[in-house]
């Protein structure tokens, strides 16, 4: 009798394990891979594959992962850096990513792009997913999910992504099978390379707003980021990337300038440094001025690298073998990617 009971319990446990294994396999199959299309979705998770720490960490939205090239910072200044950015990354998502990053490493400088100050409430579920799904499970991730969820979303589907992506069974492609158990690295230290060129023409002026004041929620998260950096002895730098659109209002600029002055934080608005950086919006953007292409990003990074070397405690690590080995390897990948993308562009 006892043996019968024992075997029934064991059989039930075996079936529970089988269901769990099935759920794990199905989750892997049905979760979007972002390997060939909408690669932005893969950026956040790539950070965990990094082999070294970084002196500079960029935090922000597409204005950081499209506009700054960590490879240039390495090659020309020996600065190790990484971009923790994702599409339409909201300021609370940036805060929680910073909190999480500081658990893994303590950089010397954190660079935050201020465009997300314009959003004071959750925006879109697909963008939330691209930022949050890639994060490892942690209190920071839970906090970020809580702050980011739109009305239609729920925590459970973030913890068990199958609940969100189960309906993809009808859209599965070869990519889902190829990348079922692995992922390629699609970025270069968080930088998403684009070699196309589409000049900026007729950039629209910003429409007048009823209220130009940034919301208290955004100021609160900006304060928290500044405090977090101060607690960890990290220099906090504010930047506004040189994207011509979305329009950056003078009234917004004034508020950020006042804030930076009040807190004693460096603030660089690259829209006002176009000549200094040498950017040319006829050749250095791939989407009419929204984002820089590779050539624009390299120009901007070259200038910014010099600024970092002069104004922050970053080190030139090119002579340090541990770093040099890893970063030279990264540079080779970067160069190969550039060559491949340019060949594809020229063939098209």
């Amino acid at each position: 009798m006892k043996t019968k009971k024992k075997s029934a319990v064991l059989a039930t446990l075996a079936w529970i394990l089988a269901v769990a294994a099935g759920l794990w396999l199905l989750t892997g199959l049905l979760t979007p891979k972002y390997m060939t299309d909408i690669q932005e979705g893969a950026l956040i998770a790539e950070y965990y594959k990094e082999k070294t720490d970084h002196d500079v960490v960029f935090i922000g939205d597409c204005e950081v992962y499209e506009n700054f090239s960590p490879d240039v910072l390495w090659r020309e200044y020996g600065v190790t850096s990484y971009i923790r950015g994702s599409a339409q990354q909201l300021i609370w998502q940036s805060y929680y990513l910073l909190e999480e990053t500081l658990k893994y490493e303590t950089p010397k400088v954190v660079v935050f792009n201020v465009l997300s100050m314009k959003y004071d409430e959750p925006q879109s579920e697909p963008y939330n997913r691209m930022t949050l799904d890639g994060m490892r499970l942690s209190p920071a991730k839970i906090g970020s999910i809580r702050a980011s969820m739109t009305e239609e979303e729920d925590m459970l589907s973030y913890l068990f992504p199958l609940l969100r992506y189960h309906s993809r069974w009808g859209e599965l492609t070869g990519e889902d099978v190829t990348y079922w158990f692995r992922r390629d690295i699609v970025s270069d230290s968080g930088y998403l390379m684009n070699v196309g060129t589409r000049p900026a023409e007729n950039v629209p002026e910003g429409a007048p707003l009823a209220d130009y004041r940034f919301s208290d929620v955004c100021w609160d998260y900006l304060d928290r980021m500044a405090e977090l950096c101060a607690e960890h002895g990290v220099q906090f730098v504010l930047v506004k990337a040189p994207s011509l659109y979305p329009y950056w209002y003078d009234q917004w600029e004034e508020q950020i300038e006042d804030y930076a002055a009040e807190k004693g934080l460096p603030y660089l608005n690259f829209l006002e440094l176009i000549d200094e950086t040498g950017l040319d919006f006829d050749t250095d953007t791939y989407d009419n001025g929204l984002h820089l292409n590779l050539y624009g990003a390299e120009k901007l990074s070259r200038w910014f690298g010099a600024w970092l070397a002069e104004n922050t405690p970053v080190e030139d690590r090119r002579e340090q073998p541990d770093y040099a080995e890893i970063w030279n390897e990264k540079s080779a990948v970067y160069a190969a990617r550039q060559a491949r993308l340019e060949a594809e562009r020229d063939a098209a």
């Binding site: 059989a11 089988a18 269901v19 099935g22 759920l23 969100r164 189960h166 309906s167 009808g170």
Partner: protein
């Protein structure tokens, strides 16, 4: 809190664990607390409605029950001293007193139901009449319908009527009676249980019974799969087909009839499977509400096998009492010689039509439900009246009746006939429904079946395949349950049962229609 929600699963898991951990004498109290908590999610005001019904019915039941006891005791004690006439007179007088108490409670509770469910419908129709007369309309009340009010009101009133008839004694404990009214698995969409059938297992102390729990879990998972994979998937094209009636006519209307039959079956029986399964996991035996209704060979049989507890409720508490009521008996006496003997059936016809009118309006306060009910009544009466003709036909072709082909014909005939009437529930507009059904004859374009039009209704070819396979699985389970219930047989093969549950969990999680991108669909019978 829908059965098909993570919140319900969480609630059930906590309740289930506590239920088998606490001392068994407190199990019913936990069920009551859980049921009130479950109902609170529908809105705190709902607790007031159900509370009034539970308390007033309990009080009336106690009063009627004690009056009956006292009257019977008096009769027993004074039997020898009283003549037969005196005893009869005493019984009649005593019944009158009990009747008044019972009626007061019935009027109050059916009154609440009438006001919250039918006031707007009555005022809207009155306003229609007033508008014709050029008079200003009355304000239409905008009352929120408490969840499951039709079900728990009927269940509670059924109890009171049984106590009045002396079928069983009144429940002494208000808490226990409140559990009978609010028992959460059956609160949303029935079945409408009888007190004497539900209460023994509801109040009993239950120890852990792996077999019962496994059987309940299998049944509940099967119900959830039917709801999420089939019913909610078919709801998408049905919404599209009904939203543009001018565009979707002819063959599309046939599709609506067929798809709605399958959707409603999957939705309603899915919900009942969850109810029965969850209750069984807690050791409570809830009455079956379906007996493979789509295998019925005629309308009357269909109604004996579909929503069984509602049908028997109306039969026992409306049809039978009405048939033997004084006005109907008087009518029968007067009319039996009218129209060459046809009049002797008049009282039955009248009772049947009234029964189906009430059944129709129970489903909803709108003309489509009234017409739906009346049509059912008419079809049943016509079928009964044609029985001599059928008998003649079968006497002429005696071999036909038992054949598989003829049985299949009867099943298909009943399925489509009921579907044709049921379509009133889909369009929710009587003239529109008749117009749409008429287009089957006037705009019949079968090419839409293969020209890809059905892929423009919000679902993909893959969805149609999943729905079809789900439908076939439901048919398979029905066929397997023909000779004896499937669930005990499945549970007796533990590894098969575990595999069945594992497959259902995975299939429902992947192919279920839930989450972002889908409109979560409430159970259809919730609204009744």
């Amino acid at each position: 809190m829908s059965f098909a929600s993570a919140r319900f699963l969480g609630f059930l898991a906590v309740l289930f664990v506590l239920y088998y951990l606490i001392p068994r004498r407190h199990q019913w109290k936990l069920l009551l607390a859980g049921s009130l908590f479950f109902y609170w999610f529908a809105g705190w005001y709902c607790l007031i409605y159900i509370g009034v019904t539970a308390v007033t019915t309990w009080l009336a039941g106690r009063k009627v029950g004690s009056l009956l006891e006292r009257q019977e005791r008096y009769l027993a004690e004074h039997r020898a001293e009283m003549s037969r006439e005196e005893r009869k007179a005493y019984q009649a007088a005593a019944r009158k007193v009990r009747f008044r108490w019972m009626m007061a409670c019935l009027l109050l509770n059916f009154g609440i139901l009438a006001v919250v469910k039918y006031a707007a419908f009555v005022v809207e129709n009155l306003n229609g009449g007033l508008a014709l007369a050029g008079a200003p309309g009355l304000p239409v009340p905008d009352l929120v319908l408490p969840m499951g009010i039709s079900f728990y009101t009927f269940q509670a009133m059924g109890y009171l009527l049984d106590v009045y008839r002396g079928k069983y004694p009144a429940e002494r404990s208000l808490g226990r009676f409140a559990l009978f009214v609010t028992f959460f698995p059956q609160l949303i969409q029935g079945p409408i249980s009888r007190f004497n059938e539900l209460s023994p297992s509801l109040y009993a102390e239950h120890e852990w019974d792996s077999r019962q729990i496994a059987m309940g879990a299998e049944r509940a998972l099967w119900g959830l799969a039917k709801k999420l994979i089939v019913a909610d998937r078919l709801a998408i094209p049905l919404r599209a087909l009904v939203a543009e009636p001018d565009k979707y006519q002819g063959v599309y209307v046939i599709a609506v009839i067929f798809l709605y039959a399958v959707q409603l079956y999957a939705d309603f029986t899915g919900g009942i499977d969850i109810t029965i399964g969850v209750a069984r996991m807690l050791g409570v035996q809830v009455t079956e509400n379906f007996e493979r209704p789509f295998f019925s060979k005629n309308t009357a049989e269909y109604w004996r096998r579909w929503h069984i507890t509602m049908g028997t409720w109306f039969r026992d508490y409306v049809f039978y009492p009405m048939s033997v009521s004084k006005p109907i008996l008087n009518l029968h006496k007067k009319a039996k010689n009218w129209l060459w003997g046809f009049g002797k059936k008049l009282s039955v016809y009248l009772c049947t039509i009234i029964l189906w009118f009430v059944t129709g309006i129970w489903h909803g306060a709108s003309w489509n439900f009234i017409v739906w009910g009346l049509l059912n009544g008419v079809v049943i009466l016509v079928s009964q009246s044609c029985e001599p003709l059928y008998a003649k036909f079968h006497a002429k072709f005696p071999r036909l009746k038992g054949t598989f082909g003829y049985r299949l014909f009867e099943v298909a005939r009943t399925f489509w006939l009921m579907g044709l009437i049921r379509v009133l529930d889909v369009y929710r507009d009587v003239p529109l429904t008749f117009r749409q059904v008429g287009t089957i004859l006037t705009s019949f374009h079968p090419s839409v079946l293969w020209n890809g039009s059905f892929l423009e209704l919000g679902v993909t070819a893959g969805d149609w395949v999943v729905a079809a396979l789900g439908g076939l699985a439901m048919l398979g389970v029905s066929l397997c349950s023909r000779s004896e219930p499937l669930w005990p047989r499945l549970t007796d093969r533990p590894n098969l049962a575990r595999g069945f549950c594992a497959a259902l969990i995975l299939l429902t999680l992947v192919f279920g229609v839930y989450g972002i991108g889908y409109d979560a669909t409430q159970f259809i019978y919730n609204q009744f």
